[in-house]
Amino acid sequence: MASQEVLREEPSRASLINNPTVRGILYQCLVVALLVAGVWWIVHNTIVNLTNLHIASGFTFLRGRAGFDISDTAIAYTSDSTYGRAIIVGLINTLIVAFAGIITATIIGFIVGIGRLSKNWLIQKICTVYVEVFRNIPPLLVIFFWYSGVLAVLPAPRDSVHLPFGSFLNQRGFYFPRAVWGDGSWLILVGLLVGIAMAWFVARKAHLRQMATGQQFPVFWTSLALIVGLPLLAYVLSGFPLTFDLPKQSTFNLTGGFVVKPEFLSLYLALSFYTAAFIAEIVRAGIRGVARGQSEASAALGLRSGQALRLVVVPQAMRIVIPPLASQYLNLTKNSSLAIAIGYPDLTATTGTVLNQTGQAVECVVIMMVIYLAISVLTSLLMNWFNAKMALVER
């Protein structure tokens, strides 16, 4: 007891400077002071520099007339539009190429990743070569390869390469028939939506019934029939409203149809092929991460190998795959900023043009950073939600 009394009453003999809490606070004050001084110095310099250059800070320049054209626009835009609209056009282009790239990269990545685990020696080697080649060269180089190595040396429009379904390939891009929706085509959309809704309903009912009675229902084929059949029915009922505007070859150019420009095509192909190599590795790691006992156990339960893959292995592999997959999707979106190198007007390229025209360096870089950060945060939130949904529910 006595010793405890002594311990409690005796104040610390050590100097305050050796107290971890005090030192922590001291260090933090020091860091804050340094930071404030640094920021003040930077802000002061920037203000001086900007006054010397006669540049007014603030975001009002966004309402000014842009005065430059953009080759690929998803929304109405002319050179008379505002700077703000130009940046939005760029943002939409970034999202389009990122979305298209993500879908293609995921498909190729899954095929190659599963191929690397194949028992077939040849398929396994082909997939390994693909992964090792694309993982180890810079994405920018792949973009240039498609752009100046492959697409730029295609024939001129006069001798375009004919492809199936009335599409053409030449220096100016990839031309394919454009769907023209006539009167009453809204019925097809309605049919599609109703089909999806009904398929979802059927899947739910079938699941509940299987849980209750153990009887199975061919959900996949029913859903397919609903989702394909109903729009088809609507198409017939509304009197075949869909026609195609085919690209036609004239002396110097192709007219009509829908054209994908080489800039978009090379960016899209390069991002897809490059990211697919990384996704393949993730998928491979995910599938190998599922213990062998799981597939053996499902075989013991009498599941066929396809069922075992679909019901046992893949759901577990997805848990390992999703977090790195999300970061690959983000990487692809960020890599789409390489568009600037070949002149595809994405967010970075249009904002860069605005920056060069107005000289509003700070504002433009801030806009870029904020938008990319917002995309990152949104994607991570979405993937976290999906991850939480897929996560193992443990007791």
């Binding site: 077939n120 040849l122 082909i126 090792e132 810079p138 492959v150 900023s337 360096a361 870089v365």
Partner: protein
């Protein structure tokens, strides 16, 4: 003898029989690996078709029909394009790479001064090779020379302006020289910076922790191009009027900071994998914070994340190609710039030049990844869970 009563026990071993014909040899290998089932056979046929369609074409283009030497574009152009090759010819134009090789390596570095980057390259190899071989002794001295000595010596050798060497401004640097020097410095800077950031992120001091989190997450959320933009447009605004910054140095700062944020996350992964007992053990031994980190935590944590660190290095090496966009001429930039040389412009030039660049990048990246796998195996002490 007592033992000989058990006469059914053999006294000599049965000789090993050859494996049954069905499970050994080439036929069995083919049966097992290529045509195990109907689906497998179909896949094999598709695979063979794929290889048969692409491989001969690639070999023809890259080796058999390729042009290896020549004075100008005529050797790589067909007759209709104003060259000597027959119409319909398609082959690699290695003559272009051959003619521009010096530029691809050194950019527009003065020709009579090129011995300087070559000397730096030799020094790099001389210091790097023993560093990479585990059996060579004196690793500490070697690392010190490589990480501190080499950059200092290279700086004076490459930039010049001292010891009677002619000054070569960085705008004249180019090619592999820029790629390698940028990535080497970025690697040397980003690893310690990344470790400090990772420690800061796990620090118990809220202010330090918050600052590190903000820096790491902000940098990881934006593309490198934006960082490079910032380094090339905003950095001059941040400095007092009159102070200018070398463009090369600006790119270097941008790439290093970018890589440090990624490195920090990799190192943090390693720190989190170290059991709490190790920290507590170090505390109970009376080690201070830095001692604890240096002697106990970091050696274990870094070993765990070698693959991640090397992946970051590889990513950084590939990312240096992005300086092309802020008009610096690294290997990719200089190759691309030479496409516009009217003396060599043919349909094959771009493809050949890019494939050469891709090969160089691939060699370095593939080498790094293989070495990391080797190190991982070597350092594996069997504690992995």
């Amino acid at each position: 003898m007592q033992e000989h009563d058990m006469s059914w026990v053999r006294t000599e071993m049965v000789l090993a029989q050859p494996a049954p014909a069905g499970v050994a040899g080439l036929g069995a290998w083919v049966r097992r690996n290529l045509i195990a089932s109907v689906g497998d056979t179909i896949m094999t046929i598709i695979g063979i078709a794929l290889v048969a369609m692409t491989l001969p074409q690639i070999i023809n283009w890259a080796f058999i029909d390729a042009v290896w030497t020549g004075p100008d574009r005529t050797v790589c152009a067909t007759v209709t394009q104003g060259g000597i090759q027959p119409d319909g010819w398609s082959g690699a134009c290695w003559a272009f790479v051959n003619a521009k090789f010096g530029q691809f390596m050194f950019g527009t570095y003065p020709i009579e001064e090129r011995w300087r980057p070559i000397l730096v390259g030799i020094l790099l190899v001389v210091l790097m090779v023993p560093m990479l071989m585990p059996s060579v002794p004196r690793k500490g001295l070697n690392a010190l020379l490589l990480i501190v000595g080499l950059p200092v010596v290279s700086f004076f050798l490459l930039v010049g302006g001292a010891f009677g060497l002619q000054h070569v401004e960085t705008a004249r640097w180019g090619g592999l020289l820029v790629t390698l020097s940028l990535s080497f410095v970025a690697i040397v800077v980003s690893l310690p910076l990344g470790i400090v950031l990772a420690l800061g992120r796990r620090s118990k001091m809220p202010v330090v922790k918050m600052l590190c989190v903000i820096f790491i997450e902000a940098v990881r959320g934006i593309p490198l191009i934006t960082v490079l933009f910032m380094a090339s447009v905003m950095l001059p605004l941040f400095l007092p009027p009159g102070v200018t910054f070398d463009k090369y140095l600006r790119a270097l700062i941008g790439v290093s900071l970018f890589a440090a944020a990624y490195m920090a996350e990799v190192v943090r992964g390693g720190l989190q994998a170290i059991p709490k007992g190790q920290y507590e053990g170090a505390d109970s031994l009376g080690l201070g914070y830095w001692q604890k980190m240096y002697f106990i935590v970091m050696p274990q944590a870094l070993k765990l994340v070698i693959p991640g660190i090397v992946n970051t290095f590889i990513g950084m090496f590939k990312d240096t190609s992005l300086v092309t966009i802020i008009s610096m001429f690294d290997l990719l930039g200089i190759v691309k710039q030479n496409f516009s040389d009217a003396n060599w412009a043919t349909a094959q030039t771009a493809k050949s030049g890019l494939i050469f660049a891709a090969f160089v990048f691939w060699l370095f990246c593939f080498g790094m990844s293989r070495y990391s796998m080797y190190t991982e195996r070597r350092l594996d002490t069997g504690h992995k869970r």
